[in-house]
Symmetry: C2
Subunit: 152 residues, 2 copies
Amino acid sequence: MPFPQTETPGRLQAELMSRGLRMTRQRRTILQVVETASTHLDASQILRKARKLDAGIDRVTVYRTLSLLKRHGLVDELDLMHLQGEKHFYERRPDRDHLHMACLRCGGIQEFESNLFERLKGQIQRECSFHIVVTRMEIGGYCSRCRTNEKN
Amino acid sequence: MPFPQTETPGRLQAELMSRGLRMTRQRRTILQVVETASTHLDASQILRKARKLDAGIDRVTVYRTLSLLKRHGLVDELDLMHLQGEKHFYERRPDRDHLHMACLRCGGIQEFESNLFERLKGQIQRECSFHIVVTRMEIGGYCSRCRTNEKN
DNA sequence: ACACTAGTTGCAACTGGATCGCAACTGGAG
DNA sequence: CTCCAGTTGCGATCCAGTTGCAACTAGTGT
């Protein structure tokens, strides 16, 4: 579940408006799709869902809005180990970083957060004096379900 | 330096042959390019370097050889936070995992390895009973050089 | 040394996600 | 209500990567 239910609805929209960006009908629609998504969506899935709410929306607008959100650090772009080809997936940036585990057999995606991850980031900031803006950690392997099934 | 000098030259080739794969003139050339690279190369850069050694090599062969190496876990595919657009970069898989830090200002890439990273992987294997095959961690931010320059 | 064949290559055509240029449209400040 | 910088839609275009297929060849067997 990339988009926990605890999140305030309309937060992305509020965030963009507070930065003085224009709120158009199309942007509102796309934000709504991204905010209410229950899985990781790629651009074409976002387009399809947005068109159900507002038939006239163009692909280009979706791309432009996503890159706007990315520039403002409101969404993260993933490729989930290229399990689905070259597609890029988007998720609302969470308060706390998490990593993605992609199963090479069933294609399922799990998420995980850990304070070791936070400590690792802290170590990097200190030892490399590198100021971290965004992190992306993706792991490919075999999930517990597939590992037990394999034994049958 | 993605390809430490300590590595045995010809190791990729030996590895592929030990798996019973055919060693063609083209593959030897591409392996040599990948093995001796001093930076992260994308497919078109690999093609260009390979053509300097063997003019007839086709881009399709480069793609096919890279995906072969990837399937056999001998190279890793990176996109370095998409700083260079949609390009994919390749590096020989190292003995010990490392992470990549991409500077959002100068575009420079640094590498880092840490036992916290190893511990994090251990935690995931244990707590999620997920069998890790490959990991990819990329961090976007600002490197120490750019941070000090910014103050000027 | 030679022949055989499964695996490999090169070429040309194609795919599909992403981008560009530009005219028309519009959110929201004044 | 006016105005215009910012935004949108459309068509054309780009470009990394893929596919189908005929020709070629590494490596095995004889």
